[in-house]
Amino acid sequence: MIHLTINDTPVTVPAGTTILHAAQKVGVRIPTLCYVERLQAIGACRVCVVEIEGMINLAASCSMPVAEGMRVRTNTRRVRQARRMVVEMLLSEHDGDCQTCDRREDCELQALSAELGIRSISFTGQKTGKRIDVSTPGLMRDHGKCIKCRRCVSVCAEIQHVGALWAQGRGFDTAIGPAFNRDLSTVACVQCGQCAAVCPVGAITEQSYIDRVWDAIDDPDKHVVVQTAPAIRAALGECFGYPPGTLVTGKMTAALRRLGFDAVFDTNFTADVTIVEESTELLARLRTALVDKQPVALPMFTSCSPGWILFAEYFHPQILPNLSTCKSPQQMFGALAKTYYAQKLGVTPEQIFVASVMPCTAKKFECQRPEMCASGTRDVDAVLTTRELGKMIRAAGIDFDALPDEEMDAPLGLSSGAADIFANTGGVMEAALRTAYEVVTGRPLPMDNLHVTPVAGLAGVKEAAVTIDQALPDWSFLNGVEVRVAVAHGLNNAHQLVEAVLAGEKQYHFVEVMTCPGGCIGGGGQPRFTDDNVRKARIAAIYREDEGKTLRKSHENPALKTLYEEFLGQPLGERSHHLLHTTYEARSPV
């Protein structure tokens, strides 16, 4: 243990702790800007500087480790002036429009300026040139607002193993962006929006489809339905000041009705459909391998996360046959809303407008993929992020706090707890095992409260195994088989896992991948700022939602049973093949 003092207060911390974290222990706040939990601290912005007795230069506390006997001061005139100078310099270059900026409510640069009490800027520097990039469906970049903190560079390279953003050029002309400062569409970007999630300012955010949704709502000829992903209900409250991890399912439903949607449905419904289709597909692949002894692509990888799909298409095209052919729940919903539901309503697919609320920017990309027109028209018309829904509710003058809890509409609004946990890393795996195990053995998954605890939580790669015994006659070939599964979240973790599988170092039957750290609850479209404490709170909320339901298994959802009886026939049948399954294409990363 290391002993030091911070502002004369003694503190003892393990060796290797940074001054920033040691200060937090004794309640001393040091402002930061480029620093982000989980990423390599680069000490680039110099906002977190402190004075250390005996050292000539101020030190960046985010990257400087403590040392025995160190005497640190965080609040001297020199420190205050240095911090102010850094922030004033940033403000002088910043090409901002605070009154209309997307980040006006949660801008870290504004907050920092306020925290340091800056009232005037002593530099009259050149402004960073304004340049807007709307070349991809998911993201909007505004170069003029970039303060070059490089958080996005680190997250894209280290957490996502993509490297779409990098420092380009040198000196004052350095710009953070894709190769040669071209548009984002010219490089391999998986549209995950993790860059937008960590950007402290309005330099990267989602492309907004709010106007498109208002237009549809105001169009009397359109029947406008909305679906909400499971992760929204555990995060939307944060837009209205509720603590992270508050479940607002009922209020969210009420708010959507008051916004004017004609029907409020749930992506959870098609999450249940996904589980039924996907576990059938897994079992079919296992039968092909074990009974027919035919070559078949195993392990099977989940396919609900569109950023992961793009990642595989760009960087691991050789595993595309291993991806489940199931569309994501969002796209299954769109396809069913414009066919099954349209038929019930007696309208054409074109008369229905499907809006989605997703925790995700990649979903904006996904819905415009050319193959996502199974209904004969675009299956999903517009995707809003959680943040955008929060803004719409605010703009409609709805007092969120005062809303009653309401229920979603039938039939596409009914779901099981297994669908809720799609939001968490490990959740799709758990939901699939709940159904697959029961299909094979006729008994419920023999785990504590149906939870597959080894694949839950924030570890990067997680594994579990289930041994099958006393299988039903149809599945007797699985008797004694140890079904091995793995779960990865964050694409760098997924990348390592894929490499290990390809190298033959790891053997699994089924692998779940979610693009974002923590799963969808940590998506690029969620309220800012998402750190591990927020992730844990949202994850816990989602498990509470699951446990609070009597219906915990996808295949028991009565609305789903009706759907198969009335419309789809069998899982993997002719109709579901056409509406619910898809294909992938290899893409060149350069």
Partner: protein
């Protein structure tokens, strides 16, 4: 002979094929090697005379570095260029001494004689124009450098004569010596 080679499209293609084959050899050698990006870029520039986009993409794939990272590194170091260079690089000194003693006028004359801006190359790929900061010959200002030759006390009126020396078959010994190894490899 060399001039013919440069202007013949078919030969250019053959040359390019050989150059990319050379690059691929290097990339095979450096696959999986830590810190390979900068040396590989330097070698690629030596092969092509500049860094063509297709070469950058190939390097990105082979070394497992994103295209944006490769571009970022290329943009960070001033010795990398992504624009094809002409056979001869003309650099006009704009250090203080040269600037006040007519360097500016020399540059203006070159721009209009070659019809290119600083950083550009003539359409016949003969000359690239660039500026420099002090070649250490302030006593002889204004100075321009063509390839490795220093030309002192240059007046705009002399420029045509200087350029002609480098045009066509009339290359200097220096120039011949420089391009010799390349021709042997070809």
């Amino acid at each position: 002979m060399a001039a013919e080679g440069m202007s013949c499209a078919a030969c250019q293609e053959v040359d390019d094929e050989q150059r990319y084959a050379q690059l691929d050899d290097i990339l095979t050698q450096y696959q999986g090697v830590q810190g390979a990006l900068i040396p590989v870029l330097q070698m690629a520039q030596a092969i092509f005379g500049y860094l063509p986009d297709a070469a950058l993409r190939r390097i990105s794939t082979a070394l497992g570095k994103s295209y944006s990272e490769v571009a970022g590194v290329v943009g960070f170091y001033s010795f990398f260029t992504t624009v094809p260079r002409g056979r001869h690089l003309i650099r006009v000194c704009l250090g203080t001494a040269c600037y006040v003693r007519g360097g500016k006028n020399v540059l203006a004359a070159l721009r209009s004689a070659l019809r290119v801006e600083v950083g550009e190359t003539t359409p016949d790929q003969m000359f690239s124009l660039d500026v420099g900061r002090c070649f250490g010959a302030c006593g002889l200002a204004p100075v321009i450098m063509v390839d490795d030759d220093v030309h002192e006390r240059v007046r705009p009126g002399q420029l045509m004569g200087i350029l002609d020396k480098y045009r066509g078959g009339g290359a200097t010994e220096q120039d011949a010596a420089q391009s010799e190894p390349m021709r042997e490899e070809e």
